[in-house]
Symmetry: D2
Subunit: 274 residues, 4 copies
């Protein structure tokens, strides 16, 4: 599923990076962020504090603090592993989903399949193209939208690239109800738009919503089309506002998913290098 050995980081960078500016594409993780109700709630709590007694005296009267974190892998900006999704009870490759589920997480198709991500990416700023701050809840992005946006901006999406789709949704990050789609759904591609991306040979996709696809779904489950049918990973809850302000088009995308054995995804702090 991966051909990382052949990735040459320098030539990829040279091919798409112009001046070398780094843009952070992540949201922070905190107690007030929107978490999908089906995922475990996020908690971070200090476990040991500096003043806590130590078992024995410490050199230089030093101390340390640490924390306990409870979370789902699908927290804040994150990537979906292939085994996160199934269609008709089967995961990518055709295996019954229940066959890969264990007390230690997914036995296969977990997030450790995803190597370091270092690829060219193209930004489809659909909100910008439509001249709005953000798409509306439930607003579909069609193949025609992708075509139109690509033509207007002379976008150059090549096989193996990552396609990032901006709906403007990052502006709603502090409004959990709206961000999570509880006020009429989420904007994003339906079957038609997703097929357009698949036909261009993208290796991964990402957007600034928690679902990537339009909710309610249109025509098919886009998650199933991508993860199950085509092994195309999905990155969600990206913050694409700075990229759009800079009118970025094609650039280097770098993301380093945690290698959590058995996990159905990983929080991610991706960057773009322009």
């Amino acid at each position: 599923m991966e051909a990382r050995a052949s990735t040459n980081a320098k030539s990829v960078l040279d091919a798409v990076v112009h001046h070398g500016e780094m843009i952070d594409l992540s949201h922070a993780l905190d107690a007030g962020m929107p978490v999908y109700p089906q995922h475990a709630p996020y908690t971070l709590s200090l476990h040991r504090r500096h003043g806590d007694p130590h078992a024995k005296p410490r050199i230089a009267d030093s101390s340390f603090a640490n924390e306990i974190i409870v979370m789902s892998a699908h927290t804040s900006t994150h990537i979906d592993a292939l085994g996160h999704f199934s269609r008709c009870g089967h995961v990518h490759g055709g295996e019954p989903a229940s066959d890969i589920e264990t007390a230690k997480g997914l036995a296969r198709l977990d997030v450790t399949d995803i190597g370091p991500i270092w690829r060219p990416a193209t930004l489809f700023d659909i909100a910008g193209w439509r001249g709005v701050d953000a798409l509306r809840p439930g607003e579909e992005i069609t193949a025609a939208d992708f075509e139109g946006c690509a033509a207007r901006n002379a976008l150059d999406l090549r096989p193996g690239d990552i396609a990032l789709v901006r709906t403007g949704w990052a502006r709603h990050w502090r409004d959990s109800s709206l961000f999570n789609g509880s006020q009429g759904g989420l904007p994003g591609p339906g079957r038609d738009g997703a097929q357009w991306l698949i036909d261009r040979g993208v290796s991964m996709v990402g957007s600034d919503t928690p679902a990537f696809e339009v909710i309610p779904s249109v025509g098919d489950s886009v998650h199933a089309m991508l993860l199950v049918d085509k092994a195309i990973h999905i990155i969600e809850n990206l913050n694409l506002e700075s990229l759009a302000e800079r009118e970025a088009r094609r650039f280097l995308f770098v993301g380093l998913p945690l290698r959590m054995v058995g996990a159905t995804g990983s929080p991610l702090r991706p960057i773009a290098v322009l």
Copy 2:
């Protein structure tokens, strides 16, 4: 504390990368890995499985799985935030440690201070230089060791660089007791070796042990010297074996810490680009 705005990713890469090979410097996270007893134990458990009933019918008979993860930020390969450590009750900058501790984690000096890491790094393969698979528990790395290793390998460590120190400890990853130092301590720099690194102006340091410094400590708390006195971040539990096999010397180090508000550190999946 950071001057990331001025980092030019392309010029940094051009300065140190030769052929462009990417090397993963992380260990995976799983239930069997060594976790320091003072940190919260790590658990990953599937929360929703594919066959679980959904609240309403789903398009394409699709389903998703997710997990609940419990962990400390200091799990597997990770980076320490400045507020992780104190000397005589004070954190970097002189504030009492208790002043920054809250029910939401650290109010300041947390891991969100650390931007994307994209810097030249130099490998001090101390184990290789000594001709051993791994240093012994409690074995100190002195300034003379750093000098000798640098001279032998013609190492070029410049101000602002990251210094990575290989002890060979990654070979003990599957032996928690030994790895955690319960069998006589850990190898690493004492005050003398740490001062040598500080004098060279390193911006960050890292090693393949869970403490970076020699345990039992020698001369001073190296954590306090680095984090508290000098605001130099520490990366621990690196896997430096592949780097050493390739005889890597100076290269690009890329790490993207999660922006967990209040956290005293973050798990990290760093890469080297050679």
Copy 3:
């Protein structure tokens, strides 16, 4: 603080129990229950399921399932330990609160101080006395209310007894916002009512709200009056509806707090024996 060694379970029961009916005074714990925003959210997730592979073959082709639970001690029906509360930075007995806080929880005044609870209790059905289903948010229960309710129902509250106060709030259990006091506060005693209970020598108090006291507080912190000043434990989120329907007045109260070392309280499933 405790003198339970002298409690004779049989004579206590004989003194207050008439026919022997047991009434459950607890709410269940589930994902939809109201949890105070300052407490950690509650999550229960199956960890191992029956079909998960076992490390080795098992006799009789048997299997087991278990779960991972994340919670605060102050979840659903629960009891507060003395160290849960402080006044002006000091806990019961005068010690600075920070002196008993450690990485393992409270070093003293934790919930393990509370032995098995087996005591006479008296129900003050304030809602019934006022002829309402439930008191209003922020409605104070005064000494005069306790006097009036006691007189009307010929209540017999003796030193060492537990006083249970019914506001009717258990009816709001499925409305988290209202139950937690986000719609104008909570009904309960202010300083005046609390002092009346203290003057009668109660050993513990309980009510059907998450705070026992009126919120916003009136006159003083009733928690501080009880836990800090007088070492009187507080039981919260009781379900007193069945007791009220039976017009119970004095009865045996049995509660068995978990002996969680360091905890500031414990979930509780108390019963009344009539």
Copy 4:
């Protein structure tokens, strides 16, 4: 499965209680206790401490502390729900185990089926009968042992009673490896001994080991015989030392499992009333 509505607490107590002494049958919960490796590790950490900033000023300069707890239901002294166990993939009643497993825990046969426990119990002090401090790892308790112990002590076990079996294992509580059976197994009944208890019509059983049954199992899975075949609940990790010192034979057993919806068991703090 439940017929507790008809339980008359007073008459049950009157039938078996002599002087009224209460004995605590639980172990405490702390970070050092033995936890079976297949269960989630236990962590308790203070979440909010007294000195932490509050969102707004508080009356009487008061403050509270709370904690975050991570655990399995099968922690320290606890009771198993029926759905905890399966035989050949089926739970009690014949349903496939997978049919009751959901993202919210067990849909049926969870711990909320267990009402307040208030029943006569009989202590089989097998260690005392054999004249040893504790049975050996893997030592089986047979029907003949139960017969012999009952005869010697004139035990009066009646249908509906709880049978408690003392192996002396509570003395190993601070030796996790031995306590968990990692040094040759655990003492307890095999098929033969379990059948003897079943034939006497016990409603529940309990012992001072983490498995109740002999490990390695002998003849059949005793858990399956009890939980799956007969709906007899199992209480584990009891501390029966004080009971044995008092030579208690028949007494009142009171246990109040938490009503955690979906849980496969509950921690328990049971008492005996003599």
